[in-house]
């Protein structure tokens, strides 16, 4: 399945926006945390600065988000993991409220109660979770709802290759297969489960082969490429919409940053991240668009400026929004 012109341009634009978002976050996140606070023995104060808490960035993994989400509409569900900004942006979660949530502000998606690992946006049916492997069962539920409501909606579970060793993953694949649910499981193999290499944690070279254990197609996308992800995801999503059941896709992708910001990355060969950036999927797609005459340098520049303006506005919104009233901590435990 080849992308349309619109989809190619959309993927390119979204990847640029995601990258801009993550690079901006990487800088903003460090505010107040560095230079090192040596007092009290702290070199890096994770709770300090305007964006507190852990921060997991997805720069480098954009192709997975855009290649899948290009096929989705508002009514399709996406359940992400702890590293989910790219999915949220590709799914259309509003950038302002998403960023405000990471600043812990009252204008955030969860009014400051979730933070960056727990983003919920009901109108675009996006959610994510800080628990490794938890997305797969919930995507089954969303897919089950689609079937019960007689809709052609699909649900996507995104997760990392480390999550494919969780019981939740295996249970969810079996459930999706026996119930023939319109769900697509998308595994991002960025080679590291936090710091542990896949070869140390996983019995198979590719999780795609695990689809066979549950009677579903397993597809390996070997290149961190938006067009290749688009093709695999398009086939899987179309299959799901036709009522033919689930698919497991694994994409070999690249994580440019550490597991979390501040991760010393001692487990990683020196210079690996820089080397990965040499074959950047955004640069590659941009070259293709230019070669095909879909975009010229001026348009490219314009697109980047606009993406950067959107990101800048979102960060300003997050920064300038008010904090919630401390009393609001007691609200929303229950829906009524």
């Amino acid at each position: 399945m080849q992308p349309t012109r619109e989809h190619l341009l959309w993927m390119y634009e979204k990847m640029i926006e995601i990258r801009e978002y993550e690079e901006t976050m990487a800088k903003v996140y460090l505010e107040g945390k560095l230079p090192p606070k040596i007092q009290k023995g702290l070199a890096f104060d994770i709770g300090a600065g305007p964006v507190p808490g852990e921060m997991h960035l997805a720069a480098g993994q954009e192709p997975v988000a855009v290649g899948v989400c290009a096929h989705l509409g508002n009514d399709d569900s996406v359940v992400g993991a702890h590293r989910s900004h790219h999915f949220a942006i590709a799914k259309g979660v509003p950038l302002d409220a998403m960023t405000a949530e990471m600043f812990g502000k009252d204008t955030g998606l969860g009014r400051g109660k979730g933070g960056h690992m727990h983003l919920f946006h009901v109108p675009t049916k996006f959610s994510c979770s800080g628990i490794v492997g938890a997305s797969a069962p919930q995507a089954c539920g969303a897919a089950l709802a689609a079937r019960k409501l007689g809709k052609d909606w699909v649900a996507i579970a995104f997760f990392g290759e480390g999550a494919a060793n969780q019981g939740a993953f295996h249970e969810a694949l079996n459930l999706a297969a026996v119930w023939k649910l319109p769900v697509v499981f998308v595994c991002e193999d960025n080679k590291y489960g936090i710091s542990v290499e896949k070869s140390v944690s996983t019995s198979v070279a590719s999780n795609a082969v695990r689809g066979a254990a549950y009677g579903m197609p397993g597809v390996l996308v070997e290149r961190n490429d938006a067009v290749e992800v688009y093709a695999a995801a398009g086939a899987a999503i179309a299959r799901a919409r036709r009522g033919e059941g689930p698919t497991l896709i694994e994409v070999k992708t690249d994580r440019y940053f550490g597991h979390f910001q501040g991760d010393p990355e001692t487990y990683r060969p020196k210079g690996e991240s820089a080397a990965l950036r040499q074959d950047d999927p955004i640069v590659r797609l941009g070259a293709r668009l230019r070669a095909e005459g879909l975009i010229d340098d001026a348009q490219d520049r314009d697109l980047r400026l606009k993406a950067s303006a959107r990101v800048e506005a979102a960060f300003a919104f997050g920064r300038n929004s008010p904090y919630p009233d401390p009393q609001d901590a007691l609200k929303h435990v229950f829906a009524d």
């Binding site: 998606l109 628990i131 069962p137 919930q138 539920g141 939740a168 929303h332 229950f334």
Partner: protein, 355 residues
Amino acid sequence: MQNNTKSGVRTLTMAQAIAEAIGQEMERDSSVFVMGEDIGKYGGIFSATTGLLDRFGPERIMETPISETAFMGAAVGAAAEGLRPIAELMFVDFFGVCFDQIYNHMAKNSYMSGGALKLPVVITTGIGGGYNDAAQHSQCLYASFAHMPGLKVVVPSNAYDAKGLMVQAIRDDNPVVFCYHKGIMGLSWMSYFEGSTNAVPEEAYAIPFGESRIVREGRDVTIVTLSQMVQKAAIAAEQLAQEGISVEVLDLRTIVPLDRAGVLASVAKTGRVLIADEDYLSFGLSGEIAALVAEHLDTIQLRAPVKRLAVPDVPIPFSRPLEQAVIPQVDAIADAVRALVRAEPIHQLQQGAQA
């Protein structure tokens, strides 16, 4: 297990009442469906879904694999899409295998969304011992759910309440853990307390959460209790009445929300309180009630120190005499009440301590 007609009033077992409530709500609201292990042809291992498969078919009464994480997570996902799943997990003891989906997702996602997301899920599960199934099939654990913010916890003691509370649970927009004690379901293969089978109206009715019920009025001692222990407390109270001790039995019915005002009003009236609980003693429901009373001693005049009866912090043993010893029985409840009544007035104790 059949409908009885006693003096013109229809009575149901608790299992029948629960199945009836689910069936009526499924008819009323097409977004309600049930999934779980053996809930279809078998009708639920404790008969809470008997007859529903024939009425509603396998798309709404869905047998699941023995994959609790998968179907509890699916309940979260389906509820987020606006459906109202009822997910049965057979024995409460099995929640360990899927607790992540319960306490990290079902209980918290609404809060972490700032109230934007609603998760109207009902989890049903069998609790309690007394039939020699040992430590992995006999726990109550309701306090463990109650300890985690975001879950409502319902623990009925009889068929009438079970139906009304189940209707309320299904209509609630929040996750509700509905715990039924196997020993009061009215199962033909398990001895049970007849008081749990009672008159149940045919039409659907909802009992609001957080309203305890005075099972029996009394002047001398309040027994705060729930679930099967209500039936035991009622028998003990009847025995004690013969001895001239007037016992008030308070059935909590739900522990989240907890009817704190109801407990305090009853204890203020009698001045003595026994908490009878089939969950573990430490860090649990009995401690919560005791603390509640302690926090209100500025307005409540106690005539004796608070007394607690619960499982003494041991796993439930298999052997009959051992199990009978650790789960509070009628005699233990009666003895505890007698001790409370015999205890010296609390102000005398305090004066003695000062002397």
